[in-house]
């Protein structure tokens, strides 16, 4: 007992050493604190650094190395050319959300100088901030079309407006029927028949072809990061343009129509058995798994919803919404929903919040022989936007989802034609291009188009122009000329207050007949339609 007490009272080596070190550390800490703050705040991460962004990218993030003085950052942040947007903060992260779609084919520089961190701001100290300078670019302005003349005939071609060049993508022996670009524009899915084989027109196969464009999309900060080894793995080199690959052959089934999902992972193809025409219906093709039929009632036209998870399929008189869920479904798929009134879906807003659908007005005797365009939202609201006596050909949402561009026709009295016999009340369909503001459902015609059946329209992903292709002028011998592609720049009053100029209205020239009528505040106008020096069909902007 006596020994233990003596051990406790005696100072141990650990006591001495610990007290010495504690004293030393206290001194070091004091000196360190007195020496002051030497750190320089900087931008740690910029999500769009040297990236190529598209219309679906709406915000970039700047992550700082320490908490920043919000006001000094917002005041000193520069974007050249300027892009309107909103700033929001979450701690050390700043998000800049654009209020308007990015114009394509441009390079933007982002700079931040003279910002202060929060510590310097509260202490009213000097700014210790590493100046930040970076840039990003938007995707090129480019569109795809099926060539009509010469070498390009029936081949898929890419017109890059930013670089002023045209490339033929598909080989000569493939006659392209339809195509759909992949979401990043690096590949195109297309259906074509091999002209070197007999009976080729019915024998469409589905292929992909590379466009030669190298997408450098920004890293999605919300998504899961790829594993470390994938980040360190050298990036694949971009494939040169024109590399085709077969996706779906026609050995047992004929391929009729196809659609590609917005994420580029799922293809839906309408197929019919070569031997048994009753074996008919949509099939789903996914990367790395064999094509599978979707067990459902046979249907007609279809569209994959922007969430890539459901299919809108025309069945009977209405539209069924069918789950495309990635697990392999066994047994017949019950539709998730059925919209009995709508016989056609023209377009879906990119966020899936609304759809433009056509009601053929079969149930209402007063509206017989008219078609109505409806806006159907995912909140269950159904609003009639337009009723026409002719047909509603196409409708596409503007990227801001504020405007719907519509191709529709009205019945008009046919112009007298000296050469043919005509009844007294002969009617013809007059196609019109309209813009409808979705906020107040106000429709205003933009252009009166020549009277012809086949008109194709494509709204640019940045909403700043519209492509229309029309059949060429009819020659005196009755031959139709090569189809013409028109570029219609759209001027949004909010963006520019340019006065619309009207073009002379020949037969195949669109006329800005109603440009003056569209003086509604947010209604775009068409200025200076431009005819491309080459001809083609189905001109479609790359996303």
């Amino acid at each position: 007992m006596a020994r233990r007490r003596s051990r406790r009272s005696r100072s141990q080596p650990l006591d001495r050493l610990a007290i010495m070190i504690i004293a030393g550390l206290s001194l070091a800490l004091g000196l360190l604190i007195l020496s002051g703050d030497h750190a320089t705040a900087r931008v740690r991460d910029f999500t769009w650094q040297d990236r190529q962004v598209g219309a679906e990218d709406q915000a970039f993030l700047l992550t700082f190395s320490r908490p920043m003085d919000v006001a000094s950052v917002e005041k000193n942040l520069t974007l050249d050319p300027p892009l309107p947007g909103k700033v929001s903060w979450a701690g050390r992260r700043m998000a800049y959300t654009l209020t308007q779609p990015l114009p394509y084919g441009e390079t933007f520089s982002v700079g931040l100088k003279g910002a202060r961190d929060r510590y310097a701001a509260t202490a009213n100290g000097s700014s210790r901030f590493e100046p930040f300078q970076s840039q990003f670019e938007t995707r090129p302005r480019a569109f795809l079309y099926i060539g009509a003349e010469g070498d390009e005939a029936n081949r898929l071609a890419l017109a890059d407006l930013s670089r002023q060049e045209r490339t033929i993508l598909t080989p000569k022996n493939l006659s392209v029927m339809a195509f759909k670009p992949y979401p990043l524009g690096d590949k195109v899915l297309f259906s074509a028949s091999d002209t070197s084989q007999a009976g080729s027109l019915l024998n469409q196969q589905i292929y992909t072809v590379t466009t030669g464009l190298t997408p450098r999309p920004p890293v999605d900060f919300a998504a899961q990061r790829p594993p470390l080894w994938q980040q360190l793995w050298p990036q694949k080199k971009a494939a040169p343009s024109g590399e085709t690959a077969l996706v779906l052959d026609n050995s047992t089934y004929q391929n009729l129509k196809f659609d590609l999902s917005a994420d580029g992972q799922t293809i839906v193809v309408q197929r019919v058995n070569q031997q048994n025409p009753a074996d008919f219906g949509p099939w789903v093709v996914r990367q790395g798994s064999p094509p599978q039929p979707i067990e459902t009632e046979p249907g007609g036209d279809f569209l994959i919803a922007p969430d890539s998870q459901s299919l809108l399929l025309l069945q009977g008189q209405g539209t069924a919404i069918i789950d495309l869920g990635s697990e392999k479904a066994r047994g017949p798929n019950q539709p998730l929903d059925f919209l009995p009134n709508y016989g056609r879906v023209l377009d879906l807003a990119a966020d899936g919040s609304a759809a433009a659908m056509v009601n053929f007005n079969q149930d209402d005797p007063e509206k017989r022989f008219t078609e109505s365009l409806f806006l159907v939202t995912n909140q269950g609201r159904e609003e009639e936007l337009l009723q026409v006596s002719g047909a509603i050909v196409d409708a596409q949402f503007d990227p801001t989802r504020q405007i719907l561009y519509v191709l529709a026709s009205e019945l008009v009295k046919a112009p007298p034609d000296a050469d043919t016999l005509q009844s007294e009340d002969a009617y013809a369909e007059q196609p019109l291009l309209l813009a409808i503001t979705l906020a107040d459902a106000k429709a205003s015609p933009l252009l009166r188009l020549p009277q012809q059946q086949r008109i194709h329209m494509s709204v640019a992903p940045d909403g700043r122009s519209l492509l229309i292709d029309l059949d060429g002028q009819t020659t005196p011998e009755g031959k139709t000329g090569a189809p013409i592609i028109w570029n219609l720049p759209l001027v949004h009053p909010a963006v520019s207050s340019d006065v619309a100029k009207s073009a002379e209205g020949a037969d195949t020239t669109p006329s800005t007949a109603a440009a003056e009528a569209s003086n509604a505040s947010s209604m775009p106008t068409v200025t200076d339609p431009e005819e491309f020096p080459f001809s083609g069909l189905q001109a479609t902007w790359l996303p």
Binding site: L14, I33, A39, R66, P67, R92, Y119, F221
Partner: protein, 340 residues
């Protein structure tokens, strides 16, 4: 009333979070007791003090325990005669330097990967430094609780012991069995520990497993009770001093470190999940302050001080606490003031 509710919620959440890890620690401790031969263990451990401290810090990779589970293991290491450097290194580093915590931190701080590596690096620096300081004491028993020193027995003296020090091992309380002259077996120690001292007799596996379970129950009852008290104290302090008050202490480059360390000490959150807790502060605090939270929290907190008291005397805990706090503060301060 709400405060009482909050307190009870906090108390039970701390307890539920810590208990599985305490159980795991007790299990590892019992395995060490019955299945690991101390001679072999001592042979594996490096003789160099620095290497021993480092080895102790890295044992966590074998025993993934958090800061409540590591105490029974560290205690067992000490009674098995492992050098102090090993035990202290393990005590301070194992809650952080282990695969589970590394993975959890990686998931939470994937966009700041330097946090993950600096967390491990800082922990190793602090743990090895303190282990070295403690190894200055060759005989660490004055700093250990009496119940522990009794089990440990006398170390082999490094220098020839003066004759008068030769006292009978019977000169302490307890029941003893005299085997042969000079060989004494304490009988009122737990049976498994008695068995461990009689290294010659290696009972069959089934008996050993049963003894392991017995020892687990024994240790869990002892440490579990202490953990309940520790959790209750931590819950009480958190109700009395809300987190907001601690966080409002500082937003500057220096005071934010103090605030985060105080928060880590008070909330006593388990090291396996604390990175997710810290993530909620990632946007408002500098990397230095976050690291201070992530490194200091697992070493010493309000809850496990009660557990530490079953091993160390108050003086040793004070040294551990002050040295760990100062070293973490120093590293975090250098980080805040000189890097970003």
């Amino acid at each position: 009333m709400t405060q009482l509710n909050n307190g009870i919620t906090l108390f039970f959440s701390l307890l539920v979070e810590a208990m599985p890890f305490l159980l795991l620690g007790v299990m590892f401790s019992s395995v060490l007791l019955l299945f690991v031969d101390e001679q072999k263990l001592l042979a594996v451990i490096p003789k160099n003090v620095v290497l021993a401290a480092l080895a102790g810090s890295l044992i966590g990779f074998l025993f993934p325990v958090c800061e409540c589970g590591n105490i029974p293991v560290a205690r067992r290491l000490l009674t098995k005669g492992a050098p102090t450097a090993v035990a202290i290194g393990f005590l301070l580093a194992a809650p952080t330097v282990n695969p589970v915590v590394f993975w959890a931190t990686w998931i939470a701080f994937r966009d700041q990967p330097e946090i993950v590596f600096l967390r491990v690096g800082f922990t190793l620096i602090v743990a090895v430094t303190i282990a070295l300081i403690f190894s200055a004491q060759t005989d660490v028993r004055p700093f250990l609780q009496d119940s522990l020193t009794r089990i440990m027995g006398e170390p082999e003296p490094a220098t020839p012991v003066p004759a008068e020090v030769e006292i009978s091992p019977l000169l302490k309380s307890g029941t003893f069995l005299m085997q042969s002259p000079g060989q004494v077996l304490q009988l009122d120690a737990p049976p498994a520990q008695v068995l461990a001292q009689v290294a010659v007799a290696a009972p069959p596996m089934a008996t050993r497993l049963r003894m392991m379970v017995d020892n687990m129950v024994l240790e869990l009852r002892e440490l579990g009770a202490v953990l309940v008290i520790g959790s209750a104290i931590a819950a009480f302090v958190q109700v009395a001093v809300p987190r907001e008050v601690i966080l409002s202490l500082g937003q500057g480059p220096v005071t934010s470190i103090v605030a985060m360390m105080a928060l880590a000490w008070v909330v006593s959150i388990c090291s396996t999940v604390d990175s997710f807790f810290a993530l909620s502060f990632a946007s408002t605090f500098t990397s230095g302050s976050l690291l201070a939270f992530l490194v200091f929290g697992p070493m010493i907190d309000l809850k496990n001080i009660s557990l530490l008291l079953t091993v160390f005397k108050g003086r040793a805990i004070l040294y551990l606490f002050v040295l760990a706090a100062q070293l973490v503060f120093l590293l975090a301060l250098v980080m805040n003031l000189y890097t970003s």
